[in-house]
């Protein structure tokens, strides 16, 4: 009898394991003070230990983080660990990009038009980028181990297809008023769901953009 039961258990569990992971669409809308908030990073960390859930899709590809119009483009880049990021300079002036973040400390001197060696980001974490010449230039690289991440579009909307399961859903934005209180919740995702979040910002103008007049761009941080 026991043998019989365990055989049934084995067959059942084999069936469960072999069950294809069906994809569920999780989507959401993020607002700040009633207005749609773009560029919010949404990450979903699988809570079960099914290796198929945490497997990174393929090997890391390399990314570009451009300096264009005295701005980091994109403003926020989300990558898995081990990704190589190229820092080209599309402006005809020099940029001096640096990071003092724990996840990766580096400095690159970007002559105009000169492509540089890529920087490889090994450790998970957040890297804040600055430019020593243009004080307003700010950019972010978020290195995350989960393969499930996306960002909100200009309408504050995000959407991602994930295998059904339990996830920790986290939101992040560089201008958030209180980073510790950003939405971070556990969700059972079996059927399509739409989430709604609101984030309070510390600044009313997006960080990292050049001043919009030559009067203000001509100003050098003087002290």
């Amino acid at each position: 009898m026991a043998n019989c039961l365990s055989a049934v258990f084995l067959i059942l569990s084999g069936l469960i394991m072999a069950r294809p992971l069906y994809a569920v669409t999780l989507s959401g809308q993020v607002h700040s003070d009633g207005k749609p908030l773009p560029d919010v990073v949404v990450t979903l960390k699988p809570l079960s230990h099914d290796p198929r859930l945490s497997a990174t899709a393929g090997k890391p590809v390399s990314w570009r983080l451009d300096q264009k119009g005295k701005e980091f483009i994109p403003h926020i880049l989300v990558i898995p660990p081990g990704t190589a990021v190229y820092f080209p300079n599309s402006d005809d002036i020099q940029h001096h990009v640096y990071s003092f973040s724990k996840a990766k400390r580096f400095e690159i001197k970007l002559y105009k038009g000169t492509p540089a060696e890529p920087i490889v980001f090994d450790q998970p974490g957040l890297v804040a980028l600055g430019c020593n010449i243009h004080d307003w230039m700010l950019g972010y690289i978020l290195i995350t181990e989960t393969p499930y991440f996306t960002q909100t579009n200009a309408e504050g909307h995000w959407s991602i297809d994930v295998p059904a399961g339990d996830y920790q859903v986290s939101l992040w934005h560089p201008d958030a008023l209180a980073p510790d209180t950003l939405p971070n919740e556990i969700k059972q995702i079996q059927t399509a769901q739409t989430l709604r979040h609101s984030i309070d910002l510390k600044a009313w103008r997006a960080s990292g953009k050049p001043p919009d007049t030559l009067q203000m761009q001509g100003y050098i941080e003087r002290f």
């Binding site: 761009q217 001509g218 003087r222």
Partner: protein, 423 residues
């Protein structure tokens, strides 16, 4: 002319040890690297129409609160400035501001000239310094090309004085701590020379509101008919804002707390350590000390609030029975709100200013009290063409106006239309 040359030689002498030190050190062997021919030229052209309904101002040797007063309407080329920034290497750069302005003593002259050392830091701590001729970091409003303000044409009383008399020649250093969230805490300090006459204008002319900044070889005519030279026969009829008289350097030091695009708070203490009895070529050394506070807060819907406060004292001459020949306390506070609507900006500033007196020359009356309102609207096209409409009203009461057969209390108005080109 001689004094002009000696001043330039002095500037060179000051820079030379630094430049030699740089060239000889290995880490800066690439200082004159061919890749660093990079320079940046910015500038300003400022054309105006003004109508004033006021007393004669400083240019007319009067005690009006505007620089150019009287019942006048005029067109003028208010200012033309060139700002040349040169990158010497990745850590060193230089900034040179050359300007022409209406009624400037030397038609084309340097208004700022300094070297900046700002090495990149891959830790939370960052260090930087600048050396040369520069304006102390008091103003929260004059943050545009060539020390212009995006909020108004006329500077506040505090910032007008900063531009007139506070330029220094020296070295300033800062240490900055930055959190991973981008918040910054900065401590800064400077030692300087060529600032011994700071305070003269506040004492004898009083606070003023305009947008003229002094230059390297500048001089201002002191108000006439006040009997200044009767009390102090050795005082020249002009004051030179950028001279060294007593050979004693001064200092300032402060702290700044900054959350970019949210708020910035800055406090600064200044003391020129002037010897109040020193005199050279008709220029007295004044002992001038003050506290300066500045606050800038970004509010919802692109409103910004800026407030500055200053309180201090300036003294000059012999001390008899505990009293100086001239001893004036001064204070001022300004409150500005501004809203940006795309390429338009609307700003209102209200401010108070006062000086009081505690010296042994009661005939030399320097106390005053006043307030001012400035309303500005500007429109910037293609990031560079800026049209401004501005109105300023000043209501002030100054005792020494009786010497000019004027009412002590005066209400003055200035209407301006300006076209400013930034490049």
């Amino acid at each position: 002319m001689n004094s002009l040359i000696s001043k330039y030689v002095g500037v060179l002498r000051f820079f030379c040890p630094w430049v030699i030190g740089l060239v000889s050190s290995d880490s800066h062997a690439d200082l004159f690297d061919a890749d660093f021919s990079a320079f940046n030229l910015n500038g300003l052209l400022d054309l105006r129409y003004q109508y004033s309904d006021s007393q004669p101002g400083e240019i007319e040797n009067g005690l009006g609160k505007f620089r150019d007063g009287g019942n006048n309407s005029r067109f003028l080329a208010n200012e033309a400035a060139l700002v040349l920034q040169t990158r010497l290497d990745w850590d060193w750069s230089s900034t040179l501001t050359l300007k022409y302005a209406d009624h400037q003593h030397t038609p084309v002259d340097l208004s700022e000239a300094f070297l900046v050392y700002r090495p990149v830091s891959t830790s939370a701590w960052q260090f930087g310094t600048r050396l040369g001729m520069f304006i102390p970091p008091v103003s929260m409003e004059n943050i545009g090309t060539a020390w212009t303000s995006p909020y108004s044409l006329t500077s506040s009383a505090i910032n007008t004085w900063v531009g007139e008399e506070l330029k220094v020649f020296g070295a300033e250093a800062h240490i900055r701590f930055q959190t991973e969230g981008g918040d910054r805490l900065k401590w800064f300090a400077a030692g300087y020379a060529n600032n011994d006459t700071a305070g003269v204008l506040l004492a004898w002319r009083g606070w003023s509101l305009h947008d003229y900044e002094a230059t390297l070889n500048d001089q201002f005519v002191l108000p006439e008919s006040l009997g200044i030279q009767t009390h102090l026969p050795l005082q020249a009829s002009v004051t030179k804002p950028f001279v060294e008289v007593d050979g004693r350097p001064g200092y300032y030091s402060g702290v700044s707390i900054d959350r970019p695009e949210a708020y910035n708070f800055r406090v600064l203490y200044y003391d020129n350590l002037g010897n109040p009895t020193a005199l050279e070529n008709g220029q007295y050394s004044w002992r001038t000390q003050f506290w300066s506070l500045g606050l800038q807060v970004h509010l919802p819907w692109e409103w910004i609030f800026i407030s500055q406060g200053m309180s201090g004292q300036t003294r000059m001459g012999e001390r008899i029975q505990g009293l100086f020949a001239v001893d004036n306390g001064f204070w001022s506070a300004s409150f500005l709100i501004s809203k940006k609507m795309g390429n338009q900006r609307f700003s209102i500033r209200h401010e108070y200013f006062a000086t009081d007196e505690n010296d042994f020359l009661p005939l030399d009356q320097n106390e005053e009290r006043g307030h001012a309102l400035t309303i500005n609207y500007n429109l910037t096209l293609a990031q560079r063409h800026q049209i401004n409409f501005e109105f300023t009203h000043i209501d002030s009461d100054r005792q020494s106006r009786v010497n000019l057969d004027q009412q002590t209390r005066q209400e003055e108005n200035l209407w301006q239309i300006a076209y400013r080109l930034f490049f």
